[in-house]
């Protein structure tokens, strides 16, 4: 269950990264896209920290 959450967090993070880079094609949507990418980074870090070996 926890492993599934970690893999889902990584998948969502990579999707958010690609969407964030894609939003840089237009200046209007660039800031929102970068906030999406930052959210993806937060997801990846949280997904890593719930791992068994790091934080009990």
């Amino acid at each position: 269950m926890r492993d599934l959450f970690i893999q889902a967090a990584y998948l969502a993070a990579s999707v958010l990264f690609i969407l964030g880079l894609k939003s840089l094609t237009k200046p209007d949507s660039a800031r929102r896209g970068m906030q999406q990418a930052a959210l993806g980074m937060l997801l990846a870090v949280v997904g890593t920290l719930v791992n068994h070996e790091i934080v009990d």
Binding site: P27, R31, M34, T48, N51, I54
Partner: protein, 105 residues
């Protein structure tokens, strides 16, 4: 060739295509924030350094992991902050008629 290697090769090749298609559509106006953003996103190595620091395989590993976590965190946070500031300047310095303006921060 093991099946896992083949799957990883698929992921690598498809990721190469996705990256090429996304990057080539960015206009030259936004190349500087693109560089800054890719630098910030490359801080995903923070995940690997977190795993290394938390694995508990000896003092050397932990110390090097903590140094790596600190460096990667500086890279991620600073990179996203600088990208956001850069894009805010873009909105102010380049007003276009008809485009929705964000409130001045």
């Amino acid at each position: 060739m093991s099946p896992i290697f083949v799957i990883e090769l698929y992921v690598f090749v498809l990721a190469g295509f996705v990256g090429y298609q996304v990057i080539t559509r960015v206009p030259p106006l936004l190349h500087t924030p693109l560089m800054s953003a890719t630098n910030a996103i490359s801080g995903i190595s923070l995940v690997g350094s977190l795993v290394a620091a938390g694995s508990g395989r000896g003092t050397v590993t932990t110390v090097l992991g903590v140094v790596a976590v600190a460096s990667a965190t500086i890279n991620v946070v600073g990179g996203f902050l600088i990208t956001d500031r850069m894009l805010r300047m873009f909105h102010r310095a380049d007003p276009k008629p008809g485009a929705a303006k964000p409130p001045a921060a």
